[in-house]
């Protein structure tokens, strides 16, 4: 019979009766297994001694009362920066990016699902982003199923919360082994266009909007995002780690999310696209870039601020992805879609290293 494994021998140290009869016979006759056992038993004893601590007595009732009086915290284990009121520039960028996103995805036929299978860059300038109105200027947005991102203790729990397979990454030795996981079930939001609100916001900004096409006022976009999982390499703050104000930039982030699904109602595709592209904030260059997206129903547009990042098309996991190398050399990222899932890897590493991690995801 083959030699006993280290795991079997180690268990024998804790539970001497754990060996089967044949394992016992082999062990009794095998000098090599006995020698390995002696070595690992010595390690086990030394480590047990090194980790020994005096027993402590706890006052459970007092501890419970301290926990009960802990200040109320938000329901989510983590408050993402985008939800913080102080992150207005980020919120503005997000709103602008959402408009670009909406410009493209709503080019699908009325009521048809948007189910992207590939990604494509839509280059935008900072001026584009600044001149675009926030989505809130065109109507109202409300979550019907709120996003509930939460920090979880393990990949297993992340998989339970999200229902997704958590991609396993092989990372270089320079990346910290300190990992955290966040997960989010699917969230659904509904945006309802409001012609009066759009006109009022434009008038306040001294602009004149083209008239909304008939049927657009009151029509809705229903957007489903997630579920999603994120694996974060790096410290999320030395304290409780649940307060966004304590977050430090992670070294590497690996994420997976079901591709977003969008349905639209009440307005024809052509009318809507024409209207959105004729808005005062949309430059002819941006409009041309959006119109250049070949198949909007299956393409996820990635708005990239061209002053800050250089996008390149890359092959990752045998599909086309978009890689961004930060021109400052401070970081890189790649995003791709495979099998209905959007994957992303980003971090403060060179683009080659990011691509290697992306290609090695399992």
């Amino acid at each position: 019979m083959a030699h006993l494994t280290d795991g079997t021998l180690r268990r024998k140290f804790d539970e001497p009766d754990s060996l089967t009869e044949s394992e016992n016979r082999h062990y009794s006759a095998c000098a090599e297994c006995q020698s390995r056992y002696a070595t690992l038993a010595d390690d086990a004893r030394v480590v047990a001694g090194a980790l020994a601590v005096p027993a402590i007595n706890v006052d459970v009732a007092s501890a419970l009362s301290r926990v009960r009086s802990a200040p109320a915290q938000p329901r989510f284990g983590i408050r993402l920066p985008i939800y913080r009121p102080t992150s207005r520039p980020v919120m503005g960028m997000l709103a602008a990016a959402t408009v670009v996103f909406a410009l493209v995805v709503t080019a699908v036929a009325q009521g048809v699902f948007f189910q992207p299978q590939t990604v494509q860059v839509v280059p935008v300038s900072v001026a584009d982003l600044q001149s675009l109105s926030g989505l809130g200027d065109f109507g109202t947005f409300a979550w019907t199923t709120k996003p509930t991102p939460q920090l979880v203790a393990s990949a297993t729990e992340a998989a339970t919360v999200s229902g997704l397979h958590v991609p396993a990454a092989t990372v270089p030795s320079t990346v910290t082994a300190n990992t955290s996981y966040a997960a989010m079930p699917a969230a659904v939001g509904k945006f309802t266009f409001d012609a009066a609100k759009a006109q009022a916001a434009a008038a306040k900004a001294g602009k004149t909007l083209p008239k909304m096409p008939a049927g657009m006022d009151g029509s809705t976009l229903t957007v489903t995002v997630g579920p999603a999982v994120i694996e974060i390499y790096g410290n999320l703050g030395a304290g409780a780690g649940t307060d966004a104000s304590q977050l430090t930039l992670p070294q590497l982030v690996v994420g997976a999310s079901s591709a977003p699904v969008v349905t639209s109602s009440g307005v024809s595709t052509q009318e809507f696209e024409n209207y959105m592209l004729s808005l005062p904030g949309v430059s002819p260059k941006l409009a041309a870039a959006i119109r250049a997206v070949k198949d909007p129903s299956t393409t996820l547009p990635i708005p990239i601020p061209i002053e800050y990042a250089t996008p390149t098309n890359v092959t990752v996991q045998d599909v086309t992805g978009v890689a961004v190398g930060d021109n400052t050399g401070l970081g890189a990222g790649v995003i791709w879609i495979k099998g209905g899932t959007v994957y992303g890897v980003a971090g403060t590493l060179k683009q080659d290293a990011i691509l290697e991690i992306a290609n090695g995801l399992k």
Binding site: T5, D6, G7, T8, L9, R10, R11, D14, E15, L40, D43, A44, R45, V46, V47, A48, G49, A50, L51, A52, V53, P54, A55, I56, V58, V60, A63, L64, R66, V67, A70, Q73, R75, G77, T144, T145, Q150, L151, V152, A153, S154, A155, T156, E157, A177, N178, T179, N235, A238, G239, A240, G241, T242
Partner: protein
């Protein structure tokens, strides 16, 4: 439909669901607080900070999960180990207290020769532990805290058959890390 659900949950809360949740949490707390604190203390070697960590773990758990969740204990054990390891990684201010405690107890809980072979300084052992990858560090802490192979496996989300191998590797790695740390 969303509105109906909201009404139903509000009614549930008013009719005693809160009491029931609080009772479940209290039962969980009473059953597991000692063990969770013990796990944190195993890493920190500081009873006061260990209680701090344990209470944070319960607050986090209560915010995110139901006390009746089948994975409650496993979640608490693992979170206690992780949070305590993170504290060791982030802080170095326990040196003096640890050194005095180590001197006080080594005479009756450890073989002096073995202790010499690893390191006489408990602080360096904890820092070596915190330098290990999360999984081996956690398996060592949980097993040293008296969890069975089955409980450690559940907390780590791995099969029970892997625990012996993980322990073996983690012990070898810790011993190496301590020696490496001491030689630097």
């Amino acid at each position: 439909m969303g509105a109906n659900f909201e009404v139903a949950s509000t009614a549930g809360r008013r009719n005693g669901a809160v009491t029931s949740n609080e009772e479940s949490f209290e039962a969980l707390f009473s059953a597991e607080y000692g063990r969770v604190t013990g796990i944190a203390n195993r890493v920190l070697a500081d009873p006061y900070e260990a209680e701090d960590v344990a209470q944070e773990v319960f607050v986090d758990f209560n915010r995110l999960h139901s006390a009746t969740a089948p994975y409650a204990a496993a979640w608490l054990y693992r979170a206690a180990a992780h949070k305590a390891l993170n504290r060791v990684r982030g802080r170095r201010r326990r040196e003096k207290r640890e050194l005095s405690q180590a001197a006080d107890e080594s005479s009756h809980t450890m073989d002096p020769q073995q202790m010499l072979e690893v390191n006489e300084d408990r602080r360096s052992v904890r820092q070596a532990l915190a330098r290990l990858a999360p999984k081996p560090a956690t398996v060592l802490v949980l097993r040293a805290s008296g969890l069975s192979y089955a409980e450690v496996a559940q907390a780590l989300g791995v099969g029970i058959g892997q625990i012996g191998t993980l322990l073996r590797r983690a012990e070898a790695a810790l011993r190496k890390e301590v020696i490496h740390g001491a030689s630097n």
